[in-house]
């Protein structure tokens, strides 16, 4: 165990106290200890750690609440009502409240033949060996280290070989209650050879409650599988949200993650993707709406370890108020990864004087026969477009909103699934403060 002298901030101290209070008879105690040691080694990351330069958790996270307790059924059901981003798609749902799987609110009807699901706490009771199977080194990621130490539950999913899962599958995480708590989940997803699936991941919780979410999703995608992984992060406005997605791709896979981030006070949406075999492609996209004092960080590491793979990164962010946006995109092309095709673009709209955006593309290319490009822009709303719309009668606010919406929808449309895109566009409209559409006769 690390010495107490290493603890430096109040938040780190809180974490140590919470960790010490965990049940000592936990079957996975040994693995948890190792993970927490890895965390203590470096503590909360800060601005002198390159990966966290613009998202200084040591400064941003003042305190960490104790691990959350399961919520009562009524409170859980009420909290879930807010997590309706994808309701029009009527997805199958695996619901977690305060980090605990709630079978009575979940619905996996009709997909049982294609998808095997078990809640991870069963494995935790068996010693949690899956935690140590993670291919990522906890010392590389404080999110992962804390996840290993505090994880309570999660989804273990296996998509059967060649299954064409027609109904999207949603992993829902909601926080319930007015007291802060720390919810920690680990999902392990295996997509079988040739399978096709859309996995939705939704986060929501109450405004005004300083709860924390830590979620790590490890996804192994077998040959020729096609996966859409769509995240809607709509946490409450005081929440801290740390999300790490770790996909590993076999050959000829298509894996397309998308993140809509509009919630939380501080969030880090990190994807660490590796191409393990040839012929695969991954398109990582995202739309960010930040306002007030929010900080929203999208960090990507795409590792081209083998030849003949293609990656696309496209992130559009609209930053208002005193909010900060961060985009870090690292593409590594290893020495033997010839014929790699990589294109990265991050664009930010700054909507106020105080809004800030840090754009950091990083290309590390060790192969010589590759096509890699990147672009990063920060700008304001186009005055010519604004004037055009106003000359047609739209007032300034409405014209601006339409242009911001258009800017973000451009990336949403690239998802290539109209129904999913419509759900996300509707939420973006809402996040931009568009008035609820009222039909004639309804208003009184």
């Amino acid at each position: 165990m690390a010495e107490a002298t290493r603890i430096r901030t109040k938040a780190e101290e809180a974490l140590a106290n919470h960790f010490a209070a965990l049940a000592s008879d936990d079957a996975a105690a040994e693995i948890r200890n190792a993970a927490f040691d890895a965390f203590l080694e470096k503590g909360l990351p800060h601005r002198r750690v390159e990966d966290w330069k613009y998202t200084d958790l040591r400064a941003l996270v003042r305190d960490v609440p104790a691990p959350a307790q399961p919520a009562a059924f009524d409170a859980s059901r009420d909290a879930l009502a807010r997590a309706d981003v994808f309701a029009p798609l009527a997805p199958a749902r695996i619901v977690f409240v305060n980090g605990f799987f709630v079978p009575s609110l979940s619905d996996t009807k009709g997909i049982e033949g294609d998808v095997e699901f078990v809640s991870l706490n069963r494995f935790l009771a068996d010693g949690g060996s899956f935690l140590s199977r993670s291919q990522l080194d906890a010392s590389e990621s404080p999110i992962l280290a804390l996840n290993g130490a505090f994880v309570r539950d999660g989804a273990a999913l296996r998509i059967r070989e060649d299954a064409k899962v027609a109904r999207p599958l949603e992993i829902v995480s909601v926080f319930a209650g007015s007291e802060p708590g720390l919810q920690t989940m680990r999902h392990q997803v295996m997509v079988g050879k040739g399978a096709e699936v859309t996995i939705l991941q939704t986060f929501s919780g109450p405004d005004g409650v300083a709860y924390h979410t830590n979620v790590v999703s490890e996804v192994q995608v077998e040959a020729q599988a096609v996966v859409r992984w769509i995240v809607a992060q709509e946490e409450g406005d005081c929440a801290i949200h740390l999300n790490l997605l770790v996909p590993r791709l076999a050959d000829d896979v298509t894996f397309d993650p998308f993140t809509l981030a509009s919630g939380s006070l501080v969030s880090r949406n990190e994807v660490r993707l590796s191409f393990d075999a040839e012929g695969s492609s991954a398109s990582l996209r995202g739309a960010t709406v930040a306002k007030g004092k929010q900080l929203i960080d999208n960090t990507l590491v795409v590792d081209h370890a083998v030849p003949n793979c293609a990656s696309r990164e496209q992130f559009n962010s609209a930053i208002d108020g005193e909010a900060h946006g961060v985009f870090q995109g690292k593409i590594i092309v290893r020495k033997h990864a010839q014929k790699t095709d990589g294109k990265m673009m991050s664009r930010a709209l700054l909507l106020s004087e105080e809004a800030e955006f840090a754009n950091k593309p990083e290309l590390e290319i060790f192969a010589d026969d590759v096509v890699c490009g990147h672009g990063a822009t920060c700008g304001q709303i186009d005055e010519e477009m604004l004037f055009f719309l106003r000359s047609r009668g739209l007032d300034k606010r409405e014209a601006e909103r339409l242009l911001i919406q258009a800017f973000l929808s451009e990336v949403v449309a690239e998802i290539g699934d109209e129904a999913v895109a419509e759900c996300l566009d509707e939420r973006i409209r809402r996040a931009l403060g568009a008035p609820a559409s009222v039909t004639v006769g309804e208003a009184t």
């Binding site: 004037f387 719309l389 106003r390 000359s391 047609r392 007032d395 339409l402 258009a406 449309a413 004639v440």
Partner: protein, 250 residues
């Protein structure tokens, strides 16, 4: 309808308009012709409310109201419409969504109820047929991937749907082939009425064969240097603008 009195305007210290006087009565069609750089487009932008220009002298009254004090959207709601010389592409904004938003924004500003969807669809369908605007164009983002002619037709479609009382057409004929010119002109002529006035800005006379003006003005170096009937356009076509340019230079 419109009274422009001794209008002077500059951009970044450069004088563009040097005393424009122009009165357009209800139902009249006025044409402004003139060489490049004479300030024609500037005048159209100032009417629509673009903020790049500094008005140093003069005033514009629109139905008795001080137009220069109104925001661009207030001018639109009051009935001013500018058909842009270079209509702007707006990626991500669906044409139908844009049309509905614009129509309802103006209705709201005038205290009228929003259009119902069927009513809106019917109006668009009618106007689109007249102007040969295809369903495909309506499905695309506004002006994105449109040809020059398609963009101009889309401008006139907006004009037809928004039913303004003052239509300013800034070189609507530029970039149009003969067929497109005919379609656009027919669309404009269909909108002529005793309550609606037009200010047609053009470099060439050929547009005025189709949209026959009541009054033709010649503009040069920021001033109206000659005013006449529709025959003036023909004279200009024959002689060119050389007289006016050299006259100014002298």
């Amino acid at each position: 309808m419109l009274e422009i009195k001794n209008l002077h305007a500059e951009v970044e210290g450069q004088k563009i308009l040097r005393g424009i006087d122009l009165t357009i009565r209800d139902g009249e069609v006025h044409a402004i012709m003139g060489p490049n750089g004479s300030g024609k487009s500037t005048l159209s932008y100032i009417l629509a409310g673009k903020s790049d220009y500094e008005i140093t002298e003069g005033e514009i009254l629109f139905n008795g109201e001080n137009l220069l004090e109104m925001e661009p959207d207030a001018r639109a709601a009051a009935g001013v419409f500018l058909a842009f010389q270079y209509p702007i592409e707006i990626p991500g904004v669906g044409t139908m969504n844009f049309l509905k938003t614009a129509m309802n924004a103006q209705r709201k500003a005038r205290g009228e109820p929003e259009l119902t969807t069927p009513d809106f669809m019917r109006r668009v369908k009618e106007a689109a047929q007249t102007l040969k605007v295809s369903q495909d164009m309506l499905k695309r983002p506004l002006n994105v991937g449109f040809s020059g002619g398609e963009k101009k037709r889309m401008e006139i479609l907006q004009m037809a749907l928004l039913t303004p009382s003052l239509c300013v057409l800034d070189e609507t004929d530029s970039g149009l082939d003969i067929d497109a010119l005919r379609i656009v002109s027919e669309g404009v002529n269909a909108l002529r009425s005793p309550e609606r006035s037009f200010l047609v800005i053009t470099h060439y006379q050929r547009l005025l064969d189709h949209i026959v003006p009541d009054v033709v003005h010649v503009m040069s170096k920021g001033r109206i240097v000659r005013t006449g009937g529709k025959e003036l356009a023909l004279e200009l076509e024959a002689k060119g603008y050389a007289d006016y340019v050299s006259e100014e230079a002298a």
